[in-house]
């Protein structure tokens, strides 16, 4: 009873009912659950590029975002670049933070936990010996990634920890950073 009444009052702005309904509907229609996400990245100049994100496929058909979004990526002056945007790896970190934060909001709402503020501080360590080709034993990617959540919510520390744990368990970006994926690259 307690959980039910909490669920009815917490409002984190997540339409949990719609998500639960979608889960029910898709569990009967596995083909509709097959999505393809896209980005088109166009080189600008130097190490500056601009990605445009608009269309995606899912629920059996093509869809479009409300509008086309663009994300610029570049490198800072320390890399002798013009700094027209964050580095690609920083965009990846922001993707992880966003994915986990949205998971926290959804899981908290589903559990009847009212959030007041949530901030994920995401850090990735990198040894440039990798991308610069100085040492073949050093990987290009992050050697460690840390996420520190600051959460203000109507819940105990354990309840908040459980929400954060569940958000990792159900996070697409957490999965694709922690697990290998096959990537095929072709040239048309």
């Amino acid at each position: 009873m307690n959980v039910q009444s909490k669920a009815n009052t917490a409002n984190n702005g997540v339409n949990v009912q719609a998500l639960l309904d979608a889960r029910d509907a898709l569990s009967q229609a596995p083909a509709a659950a097959q999505f393809t996400w896209r980005a088109a990245t166009e080189w600008q100049n130097g190490v500056h590029s601009r990605s445009t994100i608009e269309g995606f496929f899912g629920l059996g058909e093509e869809h479009k975002h409300r509008k086309a979004f663009t994300i610029d990526a570049d490198h800072p002056a320390e890399f002798a670049a013009s700094d027209n945007g964050p580095t690609p790896v920083e965009i990846v970190l922001s993707g992880l933070g966003s994915c986990l934060a949205s998971g926290v909001a959804s899981v908290a709402q589903n559990r009847g936990i009212q959030l007041r503020s949530v901030t994920a501080f995401v850090e990735g360590d990198m040894d440039l010996y990798g991308i610069l080709g100085i040492d073949a034993d050093v990987r290009n990617g992050f050697t460690a990634i840390r996420v520190r959540f600051e959460v203000d919510a109507d819940a105990t520390d354990d309840e908040i920890a459980a929400v954060v744990a569940q958000s990792q368990k159900r996070s697409a970006v957490f999965d694709l950073i922690t697990n290998p994926s096959n990537v095929s690259v072709s040239v048309a």
Partner: protein
Amino acid sequence: MKRSNTVIIGAGQTGLAMSRELSKRSINHVILERGKIANSWRKERWDSLRLLTPNWMNGLPGAPYLGRDPEGYMPVNEFADDLTGFAAANRAPVKEETSVLGVSPFGVGYRVQTDQGAIDCENVVVATGAASRTSRPSFAQDLSANITQLSPLDYKRPNDLPPGRVLVVGASASGTQIAREIHNSGRDVTIAVGEHFRVPRSYRDADILSWMEITGRWGDRYDEVEDLDRQRGVPSLQLTGQAGTNPLDLNALQDIGVEIVGRMAGVRDNTVMFSGSLANVCAAADLKMNRLLKGFDDWAHENGLFDKVDACDRPARTRVPHAPRLSIDLGREGFGTVIWATGYRPDHSWIDLPVFDRKGRIRHDGGIVSPGLYVMGLPFLRQRKSTFIDGAANDARDLANHLTRNLGLIKAA
């Protein structure tokens, strides 16, 4: 062509419990067993394995445990002998060394094809258990042929393993026990840890399963819990059949020198890769364990027993290495064996009926598959304890009642 009202497939605890119920109701039946009674208990377990349930929970229907060690955990071969005695005492009509090749519709009932001929019947009870095969990830086939691959169904003892280090994949009851046993035999062992259900063997001086029983969780019914699908997929309790002082968890394994790494995520060129999610699966398991234990504390409070049971002894949080390894080149590091302790699946491939879901799992409502077709012994079939020895009696009684009613309907029609 032989006939029998009901054919029970499998002479383990569920099949024999069902036979006893049918005999009580004078329903003509036969039990088909591919080997000897309790075959998988005898053939598909490792030597040192003891039951995970304390002996007081290991009684059979109408035959409670009467031995001298109700708090102990009996070796599996002792339990197998109990089953053989139980079958004899109940004069169970078991046909041993009879393998079922197929079950198909026939008239208003079924035809059960065996390697000893066919049997036509009105009812079939599938009692072959939940652990006929291991569920291995698809990348298991990508490992080099130099690596010996085993599962808890064919692993017997450390001495049988080829030389070299051992990777145990999976940290539930089977994986943790096997990892410890192999490490203690003097080999280097690494265990890959995915989602698992950590519980202490005992809590506040009582066995964890006693707490499950006394607080009512053990008998939770399938039609009363939320999200049954999820409940049916919960990994086995991380337990061993050994009393309290020597816990078996990831801390204990690390204490003796077993390396822990994340869930196994893939194989490339004989290098195995592990997920970077180890910290989270451990944190989640600790949180879940503490919620369970807090539930027991709350129960003790509500029943005025909080001061009468021993003080809290919550296990320490799981220690996670600072930077668990993400990959191992098995050849270069001298690994000889990979043991897949990645869970079990039933084998219903011989059922030629449209009763499976898209993942190949048999569809059933509390064990009732379709008119005259029943399945037993699957996770949370009718109760949380359906896969445990003491779950067989209730499930057999309920399903025998259904079967009897159904017979009445057929006769009336």
